[in-house]
Amino acid sequence: MELYAILKLIWAALLCVLFIGLGLMVGMDMGVGTLLRFVGRNDGERRTALNIIGPHWDGNQVWFILGGGAIFAAFPTLYATSFSVFYVVMILLLFSMILRPVAFEYRSKADSKLWRASWDWVFLISGFLPMFIYGAAFGNILEGVGYHFGWNGQYYQDSSFFSYLLNPFVILCGLMSVSLSVYQGGVMLMIRSEDPIYGRARTYAQRGGILAIILFAVGGLFISRMKGFVLTAPVDPAMPANPLHGQEVAQIAGAWLHNYAVHPALWLLPVLGFACMVLGVLAVRAHNGGLAWWVGLGSWIGTIGTVGAAMFPFLMPSTTAPNQSLTIWNSTASAYGLSCMLVVALIFVPLILCYTSWCYYVMRGKVRTADIIHDSHSY
């Protein structure tokens, strides 16, 4: 296999890792945001919940920013096309993402009741909406999107955004990702809080986990019957990254199960997802927050892995011009760009993991309401 094809594969794998990291870390903060009004019944409790992720939300949010940056750098055509195809949804996502940092920093800096109550609603919206859109985007991509390219690579949109937003499967995917984030957020609150927050968080984590199991199963049924996409002629994986020519694609019902039929070992991914979600719910019931947190990672690997394995090598198939569908072979950056990025990632990702863990270590321990109120640095 040529080096360029291997680089494309590596970056597709890294993209999956980023999506998993994003789902886990950002999802956790979003879950805490969604749950904020429910686990905290008064101002002191809410501040406690906020300060549990207070020192880390900013770092976690970078997973999100890095996700965008990595798609831009490694899959420029995908970045250019997907962000503008989903314009309205992306702008909504952006609005909720830019409200969050401000909400964290500003909520507890003024005493007015109205001020704090407003920001608490902002936390709910900016926790729920992004995770919903994150999941819904996967749903849309699985169903295919309407676009085509002009001769010079200018992209043109063929269907309006309403057709992407409102259909049962997409809503199901959105809720699936919200329930995983609620689970993870609840578990994080369990680890670092005491009663009464602890007890409430435990209840919501359980509910989130159970809902995720159900939605994952129903979603699987949908995917097995959906009109998926397949390559009808072999392509050269090392081809120049240009979606304008070089592939033939057909849209067939049940095609997303094609990869699973060829490689039965892939069934391990959905199994891993299910096993981790079930184990997670049991761990929460058994008051084992630490185990539940790490099992949450497994749930994300299982979910994203299942979708990735079904779609490979497609990234964003087109319903109106299937031959111009974006795949990992035709929408990456140049070989030189991918290699540079790989070297940089190999240096910095381990470094990031080290210092992020160190930060969690420094800020370890339970957060108590009494400490928050007397600490002028806290949120």
């Binding site: 020192p55 880390h56 939300w57 900013d58 770092g59 949010q61 970078v62 920013i65 890095l66 965008g68 940056g69 831009f72 750098a73 420029p76 970045y79 250019a80 096309t81 962000f83 503008s84 314009y87 992306m90 702008i91 952006l94 609005f95 993402m97 830019i98 409200l99 940092p101 401000v102 920093e105 500003y106 800096k109 003024a110 002009g150 001769w151 010079n152 690579g153 200018q154 992209y155 043109y156 949109q157 240009n242 950056a333 140049s334 030189y336 760009g337 540079c340 990025m341 940089v344 990632a345 910095f348 990702v349 990031i352 210092y355 992020t356 930060c359 420094v362 800020m363 002028s376 640095h377």
Partner: protein
């Protein structure tokens, strides 16, 4: 037929300018204030005097209020390349995305992870460890600016890449050229140091406010002294680097430098005046009146006395043949993309350098299609395209001048402030203190003018000489733009109101809001005497 809607392009440009200028109201303060916090904390660690810790904490609190919006609005920029400039992102993403992603990996992660520890870790870390964290935050935010400006520089001076007809985009081929792009170097230092100036004036102005009120004297005098010295050196650096940047533009972007100087006709050295003020008229292509200083322009730009500087008319005339050649390049490229004939590739290679000018003619070609222009229509298309190569002279000219006048004012203000502070005569100079207080927003204004000079001066290109702006945008409908613009206007108005409210609240409250005990008060009795009085004031 796939046609580009000029209204969508204009609205996209308006939205990008709005969000970028808004983002850049907060960034300079972050760039500079982090290093000022580091400086204050360094003095704390070296001398052990508690007051410097209080300074780091108080200014850190104001930094936090500002930082949150800086981070939030930065996200907008990352999204907009994809949502609004999809053709640009596809065409240039290989070169532009890489520095952006490295920014995330190398700088933004570091800054964002450690900023949490900087705020929350005071009691959990040793003095030295916390100081190291503060330095890492400062370094992270400036490295972040570095990578963004490297990306921006590759739009202004596209080096380290080439156009590839197989993939119809610019491809990255030299990392070293991208990083050490001369535009990136001077622009980074210029911008980072402009951030230092903003932060210095911010700290100096608020300290002046306390001194005017006779509050927190010890605290304010130290903050003022540090800020004044920080500011004076930074201002000298910002002016030096501005000159370097101008000289670089003169070599790489002659249209930008001619527009900055309002130079319609090639200059006549050595007499040619440097225009202080004028009213450039873009429609008539002339200046309505001019006040200039003779003999200054040539040495200012070319650093000698006999090099003529090409004027806008001459640049426009020189573009004619390039447009014609560009149209041939684009036509050959299209044929090659569809049929892959070697002959078409050869024609493209012969005219490759002018490809961007061919794209530029798209707007004036029948049906926006340069590949199908009849022989009779060609001269007309070329004539109509020629004026398009010039940026808006009025905007570029005045944005540049206002920036320069402000920089000279800062130089004077910091110089006087440093002198008065070193002489310990601040309290006697109420006028100077008031001037400092009222000048707080000016550096922000100056950096905004800097952005306008650089980006308006780059027009009509997104990637200089390669891809025109109006071809770069996404192709969605006007209603999408109305939706997003309405949302940004609403959200950003709320943000600025909330930010100003909190800034004023905490600035008025002053440092005593931190109930840190003065543990070294026994060694310096006068500190207790002074700092205990103002807390009675509120």
């Amino acid at each position: 037929m796939d046609i580009i809607n000029p209204t969508v392009v204009d609205l996209s440009r308006f939205q990008f300018a709005l969000t970028a200028l808004y983002h850049f109201m907060f960034v300079p303060l972050t760039l500079g204030l982090t290093f000022m916090l580091a400086a204050m904390e360094t003095v704390y660690v070296v001398t052990g005097r508690k007051i410097y810790k209080e300074m780091a904490q108080f200014w850190g609190k104001l930094f936090g209020i500002n930082f949150a919006i800086g981070v939030a609005t930065g996200l907008t920029m990352e999204f907009e390349f994809g949502t609004n400039w999809s053709m640009y992102s596809r065409f240039f993403g290989d070169m532009f995305g890489t520095p952006l992603a490295i920014e995330g990996l190398m700088a933004f992660f570091m800054e964002s992870t450690f900023v949490g520890l900087m705020f929350f870790g005071w009691d959990r870390l040793s003095k030295q460890a916390h100081l190291a964290i503060t330095y890492l935050v400062a370094l992270g935010s400036n490295l972040s600016a570095l990578w963004i400006l490297i990306a921006n520089a590759s739009m202004n001076v596209p080096e380290g890449g080439h156009f590839d007809p197989e993939t119809m985009r610019m491809q990255f081929d030299s990392f070293v050229h991208v990083i050490f792009n001369p535009d990136a170097q001077s622009k980074f230092v210029h911008t980072s140091v402009a951030g230092y100036v903003s932060a210095a004036l911010f700290v100096m102005g608020i300290s002046a406010f306390y001194l005017l009120r006779g509050q927190h004297k010890q605290f304010a005098a130290r903050s003022f002294r540090m800020a004044a010295l920080f500011g004076i050196i930074s201002t000298v650096a910002v002016i030096t680097l501005g000159d370097v940047l101008g000289r670089m533009d003169y070599e790489k972007q002659p249209t930008k430098i001619a527009a900055i100087e309002g130079l319609w006709h090639t200059s006549k050295p050595p007499y040619e005046p440097w225009i202080l003020a004028a009213l450039p008229d873009d429609a008539k292509q002339e200046n309505h009146f001019e006040i200039g200083v003779p003999f200054v322009l040539t040495p200012l730009i070319a650093h000698d006395f006999n090099t003529p500087i090409t004027g806008l008319h001459e640049l426009e005339d020189a573009a004619g043949p390039r447009i014609q050649s560009g149209i041939e390049a684009v036509s050959a490229l299209r044929r090659y993309g569809e049929t892959h004939q070697q002959a078409d590739l050869d024609i493209f290679r012969a005219h490759e350098e002018d490809m961007g000018y061919g794209f530029l003619a798209t707007r004036h070609a029948p049906n926006q299609d340069v590949t199908n222009i009849s022989a009779e229509a060609l001269p007309k298309v070329i004539e109509e395209t020629k004026p398009d190569i010039l940026p808006n002279v009025f905007v570029t000219f005045w944005a540049f001048r206002l920036m320069v006048f402000l920089a000279l004012y800062f130089f004077a203000l910091f110089a006087i402030s440093s002198y008065v502070s070193l002489k310990n005569k601040l309290e006697r100079n109420k006028l100077l203190l008031r001037l400092c207080l009222w000048s707080i927003p000016l550096p922000i204004l100056a950096t905004e003018f800097g952005w306008i000079t650089a980006e308006a001066g780059r027009q009509p290109w997104t990637v200089f000489n390669k891809l025109p702006t109006f071809l770069s945008s996404s192709t969605h409908s006007v209603s999408y733009m109305v939706f997003s613009l309405a949302g940004f206007t609403l959200l950003y108005s709320i943000f600025i109101a909330a930010e100003l409210y909190l800034m004023f609240k905490f600035a008025r409250l002053g440092p005593e809001a931190h109930d840190a005990p003065h543990d070294d008060a026994t060694q310096h009795p006068h500190l207790t005497a002074v700092s205990s009085t103002p807390s009675a004031a509120h």
